[in-house]
Protein backbone atom coordinates (compact mmCIF):
# COMPACT_ATOMS: atom_id res chain seq x y z
CA UNK A 1 0.00 0.00 0.00
CA UNK A 2 1.45 3.39 -1.01
CA UNK A 3 1.97 6.04 1.63
CA UNK A 4 -0.57 8.84 1.64
CA UNK A 5 0.54 12.10 0.02
CA UNK A 6 -0.60 15.50 1.24
CA UNK A 7 -2.18 16.08 -2.17
CA UNK A 8 -4.32 12.91 -2.00
CA UNK A 9 -8.05 13.46 -1.58
CA UNK A 10 -9.35 10.65 0.65
CA UNK A 11 -12.97 9.59 0.33
CA UNK A 12 -14.90 7.37 2.72
CA UNK A 13 -16.49 4.14 1.58
CA UNK A 14 -20.24 3.96 2.16
CA UNK A 15 -20.27 3.28 5.91
CA UNK A 16 -22.98 3.29 8.54
CA UNK A 17 -22.17 6.06 11.01
CA UNK A 18 -23.75 8.73 13.15
CA UNK A 19 -22.81 11.82 15.11
CA UNK A 20 -22.82 10.90 18.77
CA UNK A 21 -22.12 11.99 22.35
CA UNK A 22 -23.98 14.58 24.39
CA UNK A 23 -22.82 17.44 22.19
CA UNK A 24 -22.92 15.53 18.91
CA UNK A 25 -19.19 15.97 18.33
CA UNK A 26 -18.17 12.32 18.44
CA UNK A 27 -18.83 9.81 15.68
CA UNK A 28 -19.77 6.15 16.03
CA UNK A 29 -19.01 4.14 12.90
CA UNK A 30 -19.35 0.50 11.90
CA UNK A 31 -16.04 -0.54 10.33
CA UNK A 32 -15.66 -3.30 7.76
CA UNK A 33 -12.27 -4.60 8.88
CA UNK A 34 -11.91 -6.06 11.48
CA UNK A 35 -15.59 -5.39 12.09
CA UNK A 36 -17.25 -3.80 15.09
CA UNK A 37 -18.20 -0.29 16.02
CA UNK A 38 -15.55 2.34 16.58
CA UNK A 39 -15.95 5.60 18.36
CA UNK A 40 -14.14 8.70 17.17
CA UNK A 41 -13.30 11.62 19.41
CA UNK A 42 -14.15 15.15 18.21
CA UNK A 43 -10.85 15.78 16.38
CA UNK A 44 -10.93 12.46 14.53
CA UNK A 45 -14.63 13.03 13.85
CA UNK A 46 -13.89 16.36 12.15
CA UNK A 47 -11.49 14.66 9.74
CA UNK A 48 -13.84 11.73 9.16
CA UNK A 49 -16.78 13.96 8.30
CA UNK A 50 -14.67 15.92 5.81
CA UNK A 51 -13.34 12.88 3.91
CA UNK A 52 -15.66 13.36 0.94
CA UNK A 53 -13.04 13.16 -1.80
CA UNK A 54 -12.90 16.91 -2.39
CA UNK A 55 -10.28 17.88 0.20
CA UNK A 56 -6.59 17.08 0.20
CA UNK A 57 -4.82 15.62 3.20
CA UNK A 58 -3.26 19.04 3.72
CA UNK A 59 -6.69 20.68 3.72
CA UNK A 60 -7.98 18.08 6.20
CA UNK A 61 -5.01 18.84 8.45
CA UNK A 62 -5.95 22.51 8.14
CA UNK A 63 -9.24 21.69 9.89
CA UNK A 64 -7.27 20.54 12.92
CA UNK A 65 -5.02 23.60 12.78
CA UNK A 66 -8.04 25.89 12.81
CA UNK A 67 -9.94 23.99 15.50
CA UNK A 68 -7.13 23.27 17.92
CA UNK A 69 -4.51 25.91 17.18
CA UNK A 70 -1.74 23.38 16.56
CA UNK A 71 1.07 23.64 14.02
CA UNK A 72 0.46 22.46 10.45
CA UNK A 73 3.34 20.00 10.58
CA UNK A 74 1.91 18.22 13.64
CA UNK A 75 -1.59 18.34 12.17
CA UNK A 76 -0.44 16.73 8.90
CA UNK A 77 1.40 14.03 10.84
CA UNK A 78 -1.69 13.24 12.94
CA UNK A 79 -4.00 13.33 9.95
CA UNK A 80 -1.86 10.98 7.88
CA UNK A 81 -1.58 8.60 10.80
CA UNK A 82 -5.30 8.36 11.32
CA UNK A 83 -6.03 8.15 7.58
CA UNK A 84 -3.50 5.33 7.20
CA UNK A 85 -5.27 3.41 9.94
CA UNK A 86 -8.65 4.00 8.32
CA UNK A 87 -7.24 2.72 5.03
CA UNK A 88 -6.07 -0.46 6.75
CA UNK A 89 -9.57 -0.84 8.14
CA UNK A 90 -11.09 -0.55 4.63
CA UNK A 91 -12.89 2.64 5.59
CA UNK A 92 -11.54 4.62 2.62
CA UNK A 93 -12.10 4.09 -1.08
Amino acid sequence: MNALDVTDKPRLRPLRWRWDGEEGQHIAVAVPNPGGIYFLNPSAAKIFAACDGTKTVAELAGILVEAYEIGLEQAVKDTVKVLDLWREMDMLQ
Binding site: G36, Y38, L40, L64, K77, V82
Partner: protein
Protein backbone atom coordinates in the same frame (compact mmCIF):
# COMPACT_ATOMS: atom_id res chain seq x y z
CA UNK B 1 -16.75 -6.82 19.29
CA UNK B 2 -17.04 -3.18 20.16
CA UNK B 3 -13.77 -1.29 20.12
CA UNK B 4 -13.36 2.16 21.42
CA UNK B 5 -11.56 4.90 19.65
CA UNK B 6 -9.44 6.18 16.88
CA UNK B 7 -7.87 9.40 17.82
CA UNK B 8 -5.18 11.75 16.73
CA UNK B 9 -4.40 12.82 20.27
CA UNK B 10 -2.15 15.70 21.23
CA UNK B 11 0.95 13.57 21.04
CA UNK B 12 -0.13 12.00 17.81
CA UNK B 13 -0.80 8.64 19.45
CA UNK B 14 -3.68 6.60 18.15
CA UNK B 15 -5.98 5.25 20.81
CA UNK B 16 -7.47 1.87 20.05
CA UNK B 17 -8.93 0.31 23.16
CA UNK B 18 -11.70 -2.08 23.99
CA UNK B 19 -14.61 -0.84 26.09
CA UNK B 20 -13.35 -3.04 28.94
CA UNK B 21 -9.97 -1.30 28.85
CA UNK B 22 -11.66 2.10 28.82
CA UNK B 23 -13.96 1.10 31.68
CA UNK B 24 -10.97 0.26 33.86
CA UNK B 25 -9.80 3.87 33.72
CA UNK B 26 -12.64 6.04 32.44
CA UNK B 27 -11.52 9.35 34.00
CA UNK B 28 -8.45 9.50 31.77
CA UNK B 29 -10.49 9.06 28.61
CA UNK B 30 -13.30 11.37 29.71
CA UNK B 31 -10.89 14.18 30.60
CA UNK B 32 -9.19 13.91 27.22
CA UNK B 33 -12.54 14.21 25.45
CA UNK B 34 -12.54 10.68 24.09
CA UNK B 35 -15.42 9.45 26.20
CA UNK B 36 -18.75 11.30 26.17
CA UNK B 37 -21.19 11.26 29.09
CA UNK B 38 -23.81 9.38 27.10
CA UNK B 39 -24.64 8.15 23.61
CA UNK B 40 -27.41 9.50 21.41
CA UNK B 41 -28.65 5.92 20.96
CA UNK B 42 -27.55 2.41 21.87
CA UNK B 43 -24.90 0.90 19.64
CA UNK B 44 -26.44 -2.58 19.76
CA UNK B 45 -29.52 -4.30 21.10
CA UNK B 46 -31.28 -7.59 21.66
CA UNK B 47 -35.03 -7.97 21.36
CA UNK B 48 -36.86 -10.98 22.75
CA UNK B 49 -39.80 -10.61 20.39
CA UNK B 50 -41.83 -13.49 21.80
CA UNK B 51 -42.05 -15.63 24.90
CA UNK B 52 -43.40 -18.52 22.89
CA UNK B 53 -41.10 -21.49 22.54
CA UNK B 54 -41.60 -25.13 21.64
CA UNK B 55 -38.74 -26.23 23.86
CA UNK B 56 -38.20 -25.91 27.58
CA UNK B 57 -34.47 -25.66 28.22
CA UNK B 58 -33.45 -26.48 31.77
CA UNK B 59 -31.35 -23.31 32.10
CA UNK B 60 -33.32 -20.73 30.04
CA UNK B 61 -32.24 -17.30 31.25
CA UNK B 62 -35.62 -15.72 30.54
CA UNK B 63 -37.68 -18.79 31.44
CA UNK B 64 -39.32 -19.29 28.08
CA UNK B 65 -41.92 -20.37 27.23
CA UNK B 66 -43.64 -17.47 28.97
CA UNK B 67 -47.30 -16.59 29.05
CA UNK B 68 -47.56 -12.78 28.93
CA UNK B 69 -48.83 -11.70 25.53
CA UNK B 70 -46.32 -10.41 23.03
CA UNK B 71 -46.46 -6.75 22.09
CA UNK B 72 -49.26 -5.79 19.76
CA UNK B 73 -47.93 -5.38 16.23
CA UNK B 74 -48.45 -1.58 15.97
CA UNK B 75 -46.29 -1.14 19.08
CA UNK B 76 -43.69 -3.64 17.88
CA UNK B 77 -43.61 -1.93 14.50
CA UNK B 78 -43.06 1.42 16.23
CA UNK B 79 -40.04 -0.08 18.00
CA UNK B 80 -38.68 -1.26 14.65
CA UNK B 81 -39.06 2.26 13.25
CA UNK B 82 -37.35 3.76 16.32
CA UNK B 83 -34.41 1.35 16.01
CA UNK B 84 -33.93 2.57 12.44
CA UNK B 85 -34.45 6.27 13.09
CA UNK B 86 -32.15 6.21 16.13
CA UNK B 87 -29.47 4.71 13.86
CA UNK B 88 -28.75 1.76 16.13
CA UNK B 89 -26.09 -0.25 14.35
CA UNK B 90 -27.09 -3.83 15.05
CA UNK B 91 -29.95 -5.72 16.62
CA UNK B 92 -30.30 -9.36 17.59
CA UNK B 93 -33.80 -10.78 17.24
CA UNK B 94 -34.30 -13.43 19.86
CA UNK B 95 -37.03 -15.03 21.96
CA UNK B 96 -38.38 -17.48 23.18
CA UNK B 97 -38.23 -18.85 19.70
CA UNK B 98 -38.43 -15.76 17.49
CA UNK B 99 -39.50 -17.60 14.35
CA UNK B 100 -42.84 -18.33 16.08
CA UNK B 101 -43.69 -14.62 16.06
CA UNK B 102 -46.16 -13.93 13.25
CA UNK B 103 -44.16 -10.84 12.17
CA UNK B 104 -40.68 -12.35 12.59
CA UNK B 105 -39.72 -11.97 8.94
CA UNK B 106 -41.30 -8.51 8.74
CA UNK B 107 -39.10 -7.39 11.63
CA UNK B 108 -35.96 -8.82 10.01
CA UNK B 109 -36.83 -7.32 6.64
CA UNK B 110 -37.74 -3.82 7.83
CA UNK B 111 -34.64 -3.57 10.01
CA UNK B 112 -32.37 -4.84 7.24
CA UNK B 113 -33.89 -2.48 4.68
CA UNK B 114 -33.41 0.31 7.22
CA UNK B 115 -29.67 -0.34 7.30
CA UNK B 116 -29.51 -2.19 10.61
CA UNK B 117 -27.21 -5.22 10.82
CA UNK B 118 -29.60 -7.94 11.94
CA UNK B 119 -28.65 -11.05 13.87
CA UNK B 120 -31.00 -13.73 15.07
CA UNK B 121 -31.02 -16.71 17.43
CA UNK B 122 -33.12 -19.81 16.86
CA UNK B 123 -33.51 -23.31 18.27
CA UNK B 124 -33.97 -24.50 14.69
CA UNK B 125 -37.22 -26.39 15.30
CA UNK B 126 -39.24 -24.47 12.71
CA UNK B 127 -36.52 -24.21 10.06
CA UNK B 128 -37.47 -24.87 6.45
CA UNK B 129 -35.50 -24.22 3.26
CA UNK B 130 -37.73 -21.20 2.56
CA UNK B 131 -37.28 -19.73 6.05
CA UNK B 132 -33.52 -20.26 5.80
CA UNK B 133 -33.50 -18.50 2.44
CA UNK B 134 -35.27 -15.44 3.86
CA UNK B 135 -33.13 -15.41 7.01
CA UNK B 136 -30.05 -15.50 4.80
CA UNK B 137 -31.39 -12.55 2.83
CA UNK B 138 -32.09 -10.31 5.83
CA UNK B 139 -29.50 -11.21 8.47
CA UNK B 140 -25.78 -10.68 8.85
CA UNK B 141 -25.50 -13.36 11.54
CA UNK B 142 -27.61 -16.37 12.50
CA UNK B 143 -27.10 -18.48 15.60
CA UNK B 144 -28.52 -21.91 16.30
CA UNK B 145 -28.51 -23.28 19.82
CA UNK B 146 -26.96 -26.74 20.05
CA UNK B 147 -26.31 -27.97 23.55
CA UNK B 148 -24.68 -31.27 22.78
CA UNK B 149 -23.03 -33.33 20.07
CA UNK B 150 -25.72 -36.03 20.20
CA UNK B 151 -29.48 -36.19 20.48
CA UNK B 152 -29.14 -37.90 23.84
CA UNK B 153 -27.32 -34.93 25.36
CA UNK B 154 -28.99 -32.04 23.52
CA UNK B 155 -32.58 -33.27 23.89
CA UNK B 156 -32.10 -33.82 27.61
CA UNK B 157 -31.00 -30.21 28.16
CA UNK B 158 -33.54 -28.74 25.76
CA UNK B 159 -36.48 -30.70 27.07
CA UNK B 160 -37.77 -32.07 23.78
CA UNK B 161 -37.09 -35.22 21.85
CA UNK B 162 -36.12 -34.57 18.25
CA UNK B 163 -34.74 -31.09 18.94
CA UNK B 164 -31.15 -32.13 18.16
CA UNK B 165 -32.05 -33.33 14.66
CA UNK B 166 -34.00 -30.11 13.98
CA UNK B 167 -31.19 -27.87 15.23
CA UNK B 168 -28.51 -29.68 13.24
CA UNK B 169 -30.70 -29.54 10.13
CA UNK B 170 -31.24 -25.82 10.71
CA UNK B 171 -27.50 -25.15 10.62
CA UNK B 172 -27.20 -27.06 7.35
CA UNK B 173 -30.17 -25.26 5.81
CA UNK B 174 -28.78 -21.87 6.75
CA UNK B 175 -25.42 -22.77 5.23
CA UNK B 176 -27.05 -24.10 2.08
CA UNK B 177 -29.05 -20.88 1.82
CA UNK B 178 -25.85 -18.84 1.93
CA UNK B 179 -26.45 -17.24 5.32
CA UNK B 180 -23.55 -15.16 6.65
CA UNK B 181 -21.83 -15.87 9.96
CA UNK B 182 -23.69 -19.02 10.94
CA UNK B 183 -22.80 -19.87 14.48
CA UNK B 184 -23.63 -22.56 17.01
CA UNK B 185 -24.07 -21.61 20.64
CA UNK B 186 -23.55 -24.12 23.42
CA UNK B 187 -24.81 -23.50 26.96
CA UNK B 188 -22.74 -25.63 29.30
CA UNK B 189 -24.59 -27.01 32.33
CA UNK B 190 -23.45 -29.76 34.65
CA UNK B 191 -25.49 -32.15 32.49
CA UNK B 192 -23.79 -31.50 29.17
CA UNK B 193 -20.59 -29.50 29.57
CA UNK B 194 -18.35 -32.57 29.47
CA UNK B 195 -19.51 -33.21 25.90
CA UNK B 196 -18.20 -29.88 24.61
CA UNK B 197 -14.92 -31.31 23.19
CA UNK B 198 -17.03 -33.19 20.62
CA UNK B 199 -18.80 -30.01 19.50
CA UNK B 200 -16.15 -28.55 17.16
CA UNK B 201 -16.15 -31.62 14.90
CA UNK B 202 -19.92 -31.51 14.70
CA UNK B 203 -19.83 -27.80 13.82
CA UNK B 204 -17.30 -28.42 11.06
CA UNK B 205 -19.46 -31.24 9.71
CA UNK B 206 -22.55 -29.00 9.74
CA UNK B 207 -20.70 -26.11 8.10
CA UNK B 208 -20.93 -23.57 10.93
CA UNK B 209 -18.54 -20.61 10.93
CA UNK B 210 -18.32 -20.27 14.69
CA UNK B 211 -18.88 -22.19 17.91
CA UNK B 212 -19.61 -20.00 20.88
CA UNK B 213 -19.93 -20.70 24.58
CA UNK B 214 -19.56 -18.86 27.86
CA UNK B 215 -19.97 -19.54 31.57
CA UNK B 216 -23.56 -20.46 32.38
CA UNK B 217 -25.49 -17.48 33.73
CA UNK B 218 -27.24 -18.55 36.92
CA UNK B 219 -30.29 -16.41 36.24
CA UNK B 220 -33.81 -17.29 35.14
CA UNK B 221 -34.51 -21.03 35.26
CA UNK B 222 -30.86 -21.87 36.00
CA UNK B 223 -30.94 -19.51 38.97
CA UNK B 224 -33.56 -21.69 40.60
CA UNK B 225 -31.54 -24.91 40.14
CA UNK B 226 -28.03 -24.32 41.52
CA UNK B 227 -27.04 -27.92 40.74
CA UNK B 228 -27.07 -27.03 37.02
CA UNK B 229 -23.89 -25.02 37.44
CA UNK B 230 -20.84 -26.91 36.17
CA UNK B 231 -18.49 -28.04 38.91
CA UNK B 232 -15.23 -26.07 39.21
CA UNK B 233 -13.42 -29.02 37.61
CA UNK B 234 -15.83 -29.05 34.68
CA UNK B 235 -15.51 -25.29 34.21
CA UNK B 236 -11.72 -25.52 34.24
CA UNK B 237 -11.69 -28.39 31.75
CA UNK B 238 -13.94 -26.44 29.40
CA UNK B 239 -11.74 -23.37 29.51
CA UNK B 240 -8.58 -25.45 29.04
CA UNK B 241 -10.11 -27.21 26.06
CA UNK B 242 -11.12 -23.95 24.39
CA UNK B 243 -7.67 -22.45 24.88
CA UNK B 244 -6.00 -25.39 23.17
CA UNK B 245 -8.66 -25.95 20.48
CA UNK B 246 -8.22 -22.66 18.61
CA UNK B 247 -7.06 -23.23 15.05
CA UNK B 248 -7.35 -27.02 15.23
CA UNK B 249 -10.64 -27.24 13.37
CA UNK B 250 -10.01 -25.55 10.06
CA UNK B 251 -11.72 -22.17 9.73
CA UNK B 252 -14.08 -22.78 12.65
CA UNK B 253 -13.77 -20.01 15.22
CA UNK B 254 -14.26 -21.08 18.82
CA UNK B 255 -15.37 -18.17 20.96
CA UNK B 256 -15.43 -17.88 24.74
CA UNK B 257 -17.71 -15.10 25.95
CA UNK B 258 -17.88 -13.21 29.22
CA UNK B 259 -21.50 -12.57 30.23
CA UNK B 260 -20.37 -10.15 32.93
CA UNK B 261 -18.49 -7.85 30.53
CA UNK B 262 -21.45 -5.54 29.91
CA UNK B 263 -21.84 -4.92 33.64
CA UNK B 264 -18.14 -4.20 34.13
CA UNK B 265 -18.20 -1.78 31.20
CA UNK B 266 -21.46 -0.17 32.30
CA UNK B 267 -20.34 0.40 35.87
CA UNK B 268 -16.99 1.70 34.62
CA UNK B 269 -18.18 4.26 32.09
CA UNK B 270 -21.67 4.93 33.43
CA UNK B 271 -23.35 5.18 30.06
CA UNK B 272 -25.32 2.42 28.36
CA UNK B 273 -24.01 0.97 25.11
CA UNK B 274 -26.58 -1.75 24.61
CA UNK B 275 -30.29 -2.23 24.99
CA UNK B 276 -32.61 -5.12 25.81
CA UNK B 277 -36.26 -5.23 24.87
CA UNK B 278 -38.29 -7.97 26.49
CA UNK B 279 -41.21 -9.77 24.93
CA UNK B 280 -43.69 -7.65 26.93
CA UNK B 281 -42.00 -4.39 25.97
CA UNK B 282 -39.71 -3.55 28.87
CA UNK B 283 -36.61 -1.55 27.93
CA UNK B 284 -33.62 -2.83 29.86
CA UNK B 285 -29.93 -2.23 30.22
CA UNK B 286 -28.74 -5.82 30.65
CA UNK B 287 -29.47 -8.93 28.63
CA UNK B 288 -29.48 -11.01 31.83
CA UNK B 289 -30.44 -8.80 34.76
CA UNK B 290 -34.07 -7.64 34.97
CA UNK B 291 -33.36 -3.91 35.30
CA UNK B 292 -35.84 -1.84 33.30
CA UNK B 293 -36.42 1.82 32.60
CA UNK B 294 -39.76 1.95 30.83
CA UNK B 295 -42.14 0.03 28.63
CA UNK B 296 -43.01 0.26 24.97
CA UNK B 297 -46.73 0.25 25.75
CA UNK B 298 -46.28 3.55 27.61
CA UNK B 299 -43.36 5.32 25.96
CA UNK B 300 -41.34 5.34 22.79
CA UNK B 301 -37.86 3.86 22.86
CA UNK B 302 -36.31 7.20 21.93
CA UNK B 303 -38.06 8.93 24.87
CA UNK B 304 -37.00 6.29 27.39
CA UNK B 305 -33.43 6.48 26.15
CA UNK B 306 -33.31 10.26 26.48
CA UNK B 307 -35.01 10.27 29.87
CA UNK B 308 -32.39 8.15 31.52
CA UNK B 309 -31.78 4.71 30.01
CA UNK B 310 -28.70 6.12 28.29
CA UNK B 311 -27.14 6.78 31.72
CA UNK B 312 -28.68 3.72 33.39
CA UNK B 313 -25.45 2.51 34.94
CA UNK B 314 -25.16 5.79 36.85
CA UNK B 315 -28.60 5.32 38.42
CA UNK B 316 -28.32 5.20 42.19
CA UNK B 317 -30.38 2.01 42.46
CA UNK B 318 -28.16 0.25 39.91
CA UNK B 319 -25.01 1.44 41.68
CA UNK B 320 -26.40 0.13 44.95
CA UNK B 321 -27.19 -3.28 43.44
CA UNK B 322 -23.63 -3.70 42.24
CA UNK B 323 -21.89 -1.87 45.08
CA UNK B 324 -20.00 -5.08 45.83
CA UNK B 325 -18.99 -5.51 42.18
CA UNK B 326 -20.30 -8.06 39.74
CA UNK B 327 -19.72 -11.73 40.24
CA UNK B 328 -17.61 -13.02 37.41
CA UNK B 329 -17.42 -14.98 35.22
CA UNK B 330 -20.62 -16.72 36.39
CA UNK B 331 -23.48 -14.23 36.61
CA UNK B 332 -25.77 -14.51 39.62
CA UNK B 333 -28.68 -12.40 40.72
CA UNK B 334 -27.39 -9.90 43.32
CA UNK B 335 -29.36 -9.33 46.53
CA UNK B 336 -32.15 -6.87 45.82
CA UNK B 337 -32.81 -8.12 42.31
CA UNK B 338 -34.85 -11.20 43.13
CA UNK B 339 -37.78 -9.46 41.44
CA UNK B 340 -37.52 -7.31 38.28
CA UNK B 341 -36.47 -3.76 39.04
CA UNK B 342 -38.47 -1.07 37.25
CA UNK B 343 -36.73 2.27 37.60
CA UNK B 344 -38.16 5.63 36.77
CA UNK B 345 -36.38 7.81 34.29
CA UNK B 346 -36.22 11.57 34.42
CA UNK B 347 -39.49 13.17 33.46
CA UNK B 348 -39.69 14.90 30.08
CA UNK B 349 -39.43 18.28 31.82
CA UNK B 350 -35.98 17.32 33.07
CA UNK B 351 -36.75 16.28 36.65
CA UNK B 352 -34.40 13.97 38.49
CA UNK B 353 -34.74 10.20 38.34
CA UNK B 354 -37.00 8.83 41.05
Amino acid sequence: MVRFALDAADDGALVDKSWLEIAANPEVYRESGLLPRYLKAPLLGVWEITGRCGLRCVYCYNESPRTPPDLEWPIAERIVRDIISMRIFAFCISGGEPTLHPHYLDILRILAEGGVAVGTITNGWTMTPELARLMARYTTAAQVSLDGPTAEVHDLVRGKQGSFERAARAVRLLRDAGAQNVSVSFAGTRLNVDSFPRMPELCVELGADKLRTQPLSMVGRAGAVPSLEPTPEQARSLKDFIETAQGKYGDLKIEWGDPSAHVKVGLGIGMALTLRITQDGNFGVSPYYPIFFGNARESRLSEVWERGLREAWEHEAVRTLFAGGVESPVLRIPPGLEEPLHLTCRQPNGGDPA
